[in-house]
Every structure is written in structure tokens, then in C-alpha cells.
């Protein structure tokens, strides 16, 4: 199982799901109507490192974080 956490303004509790790569996470979230407005604009981190490929492998216990658009300062 991997944990999906939603950062900042995404008002959503963490999810756990079975996934062997980010592709599985993408498929699961595309079917989630709450997430539709966020997927196009979120960056993704696995275990707190930003990633750039849907082929990023996931292992049991991994944490996937979704980071919506930022504005510090």
C-alpha cells in the first residue's frame, strides 16, 4: 500500500491504495471527482522528492504527495 497526501489548499484526507507506479496513482485519482480540478496543476513528490515520470516505481510504504500551485513570500 502507498499513502497519497494532499498538501496546502487541497481539502482532502490522505488515501491509501495499492500501486506499483505513479501510473496506478494517476488512474485512481482521475476517477476521483474531487481531484479533477487539481491534477493538471499539481506537482508530485515520492517520499519528499519531486518526480517527473509516471513510470516512477512505488513500493509498499511509500508516500506520494500532491503539491498544488505555490505562492510563498
Amino acid at each position: 500500500m502507498v499513502t497519497i497526501e494532499f498538501l496546502g489548499p487541497i481539502q482532502k484526507a490522505p488515501l491509501t491504495l495499492e500501486a506499483t507506479s505513479l501510473r496506478d496513482v494517476a488512474e485512481a485519482l482521475k476517477n476521483d471527482s474531487e481531484m479533477a480540478q487539481w491534477l493538471e496543476s499539481c506537482a508530485v513528490a515520492v517520499n519528499d522528492a519531486l518526480v517527473a515520470s509516471l513510470d516512477t516505481p512505488l513500493e509498499n510504504g511509500d508516500k506520494v504527495s500532491l503539491l498544488p500551485p505555490v505562492c510563498g513570500g
Binding site: L29, V44, S65
Partner: protein
Amino acid sequence: MLELYDGALNVPEILSRWYGEESSNNYGAYIPFVGTVRAEDGIEGLSFDVYEPILTSWFEAWVSKAAPLGATLRMAHSRGDVMVHESSYIAAVFSPKRRVALEMIEAFVEDFKASAPIWKYDLKNGQRIYARDRSTPIEGSGLLGRRE
């Protein structure tokens, strides 16, 4: 060094302390940038969420970039509410000569705005409203929404 505070920054204390801590390290230039909340659009203040693990690794990457140039970076940011005319952000570069610090403060602050995992909210009429229109997707965003 990265410092996070609950609420507004104590700007005089932070700037003075950084100055004192670096004053004997032979830097010729100390260039701070202070971000202060302005009264506009009827806001009472701003509020911030910070995701510390990725903010720390982003900051450490900048420290590594600064080191070969002989420069040192400092940054302080608020979490939670910061009211109008209070300050939420300080970045500073110390360098042997001014040119490195002047160029780095601009590049650092711009990358901070585009990449640092911090979310801003307007405090207005007792509500906390995500400043979506003023926010920037981090480079590489949209991965999970890609159509294949």
C-alpha cells in the same frame, strides 16, 4: 540557514542577528530582501501553509549552489497568519563582493516564488481564501493529469 516562525517575523531581530552572526566571516556584502504584507483588495492579512521537508531540500540545493561562489544564504518565513504591514519573508545573501550577492538575491527570490512549497491565503471577512490566481504551478506539474 532556514528559519520558520508561527506568525509574523520579528524583522529587526532577525536582520540584526544574521548581521552579528556573519560579521566576522569576511563578507563584504549583506543583501537582505524583506517581504511585507500590503493593504490591498480589502485583505486583513495573509496566511501561509508550509511543507517543510521539500522546502528544506529546495533550500539546501541553493546553499550548495551558493557555496562555490563563496556566498551564504539565509531565509526566514512565516507559517499561519500575518497581518497587513507585518512581514512574512526574509531572504538574504552574504558574499565576499557585492556582485555575487546582488545577482543571487534576485535568482533566489524568483526561484523561491516559483518553486518553494508554500501556499498563500487571503484573510478577508474572517475567511481564509487560497490565492490561486497569484500562485504558480511548480515545474513539472500536471504529471498525474496527463492524457496518454
